[in-house]
């Protein structure tokens, strides 16, 4: 399996990358870790005139704390996020999600930014990014803009990032209770992608749920916040009964379930509720 020919550029600054992207317009692809793009090129599902490798732009893979926000460069690999002690402490949901992606070789190459832009409906990152209410920073020739996680995923394989833009950073507020979180998924056995994955970030005060954000991936063509479940939890004492009844609503936001060789829509709907309950129990430690 060999891709069609393309021109290759490896700019060393964002400005140079933006110039190249504008020069080629629709006929180029940005390359980060390549673990979605290279398979697509090999299958010739895409045959761009040029590939712009942003992997050599310095400074895009750092992980840092800026007052109360964690800032993660778009090129941070799944492996570096999984291994970060700071994230393990301050935002274990990011580290645990990263750890569950694919296999070690995939995690060593694949990046957070690339995964988000690819917007695979079975990808793991979207669940955590929604549950953490992340902000995605994008650079274009007109300047910088920030996209809220809720507005980021537009449709299957489509994000809010426009042609001519580069994702540079993902930032999240340090959760009030980092450990009141979990990501649980049922994985496709060959690739590891999520059949259904649920990420939860809670805030619990004296046994009462005072904050809840839940991201669901895999179930629908685009990932979503399980707002009905969140609302059912908020303001109530966290009990097993509450978790069961709230989790039963976790499929309400998505009209159509995905239906493919990995799982029927009906089974995915069932899994979404079951996995939501498990993820809530793990986050609340009930």
């Amino acid at each position: 399996m060999i891709p069609s020919n393309f021109e290759y550029h490896a700019p060393t600054s964002i400005e140079a990358a933006l110039d190249l992207i504008n020069q080629y317009g629709d006929d180029c692809k940005i390359l980060s870790g390549g673990h979605s793009l290279i398979p697509v090129l090999k299958l010739r599902l895409a045959a761009p005139a040029a590939v712009i490798d942003i992997g050599r732009i310095p400074g895009l893979s750092s992980i840092s704390l800026d007052r109360d926000r964690l800032r993660i460069g778009a090129l941070a690999t799944h492996a570096s996020i999984a291994a970060s002690d700071m994230l393990g402490q301050l935002c274990p949901l990011l580290a645990t999600t990263a750890h569950q992606i694919g296999d070690p070789q995939v995690r060593n190459r694949g990046t957070l930014g690339g995964s988000l832009v690819h917007a695979d409906p079975a990808a793991d990152w979207p669940a955590a990014i929604l549950a953490l209410d992340a902000s995605i920073t994008v650079r274009g020739s007109a300047g910088e803009r920030h996209i809220a996680a809720n507005d980021f995923f537009v449709d299957m394989l489509t994000s809010a990032v426009q042609q001519g833009e580069i994702v540079t950073e993902i930032s999240v507020a340090v959760p009030a209770q980092p450990r009141a979180s979990s990501y649980i998924k049922v994985a496709q056995s060959a690739s590891g992608f999520a059949v259904v994955g649920v990420a939860v970030q809670l805030e619990i005060d004296n046994g009462v749920c005072v904050g809840a954000r839940i991201g669901v991936t895999g179930f629908a063509p685009k990932p979503y916040r399980a707002s009905s479940t969140e609302n059912a939890l908020k303001g109530n004492p966290i009990t097993e009964d509450l978790i069961s009844s709230a989790a039963a609503l976790a499929d309400s936001e998505a009209a159509d379930a995905m239906n493919d060789i990995h799982a029927s829509g009906e089974y995915r709907r069932h899994l979404t509720r079951v996995i939501a309950a498990r993820a809530l129990r793990a986050a609340a430690r009930v």
């Binding site: 399996m1 060999i2 891709p3 069609s4 020919n5 393309f6 021109e7 290759y8 490896a10 390359l31 390549g34 673990h35 290279i38 398979p39 090129l41 090999k42 590939v51 490798d53 992997g55 492996a79 694919g102 296999d103 070690p104 070789q105 995939v106 060593n108 190459r109 060959a190 690739s191 590891g192």
Partner: protein, 157 residues
């Protein structure tokens, strides 16, 4: 495009098409055919090599992405006629049958042991999740890596 890679300590320079995959560079340009191609779809791990010390699937990396980097392949493990502890482990514990998956398995194990010199059995299985073997049933591979880890830890002390 002209690229230069350090493979197993030796510099390799070539003028390649940007679409050339790293695994094809290794096998067809550098003539290092120890790295195998199994699935071509990033799933089997037969093509695993170390790129700047991290295990990667070389069928899913462009040779141009590896420009200026260090690559270690199965050919680069033994030194002065002495098998590397992981190779020795596979030999002694019958970690292979047909041998097709073996170079990739060994390189993935080397990647794991670089990060964790005393992995538990579960950590070894997880570390080799990206590699498939159609023959052994994996148990002997796990034993081989365990024994290599013991030997390497002993050498470090």
């Amino acid at each position: 495009m002209k690229i230069s890679l350090e493979i197993n300590g030796k510099k390799h320079e070539a003028d390649v098409e940007p679409r050339l995959l790293l695994v094809h560079f290794l096998r067809d340009v550098a003539n290092l055919t120890g790295t195998h191609i199994g699935c071509e779809t990033s799933l089997c791990g037969a093509c695993t090599v170390l790129l700047d010390d991290a295990a990667i699937k070389s069928c899913t990396v462009l040779a141009v992405q590896a420009d200026g980097c260090r690559v270690t392949t199965i050919e680069g493990l033994a030194s002065a006629g002495e098998l590397h502890p992981v190779q020795k482990g596979f030999w002694e514990h019958h970690g292979l049958q047909c041998g097709y998956c073996t170079p990739g398995m060994i390189m993935a194990a080397c990647g794991l042991l670089r990060e964790n010199l005393s992995p538990s059995e579960a950590e070894i299985r997880e570390g080799l999740e990206g590699n498939l073997c159609r023959c052994t049933g994996y148990q002997n591979i796990v034993d081989a890596v365990e024994s290599a880890a013991r030997e390497m830890a002993g050498a470090v002390k």
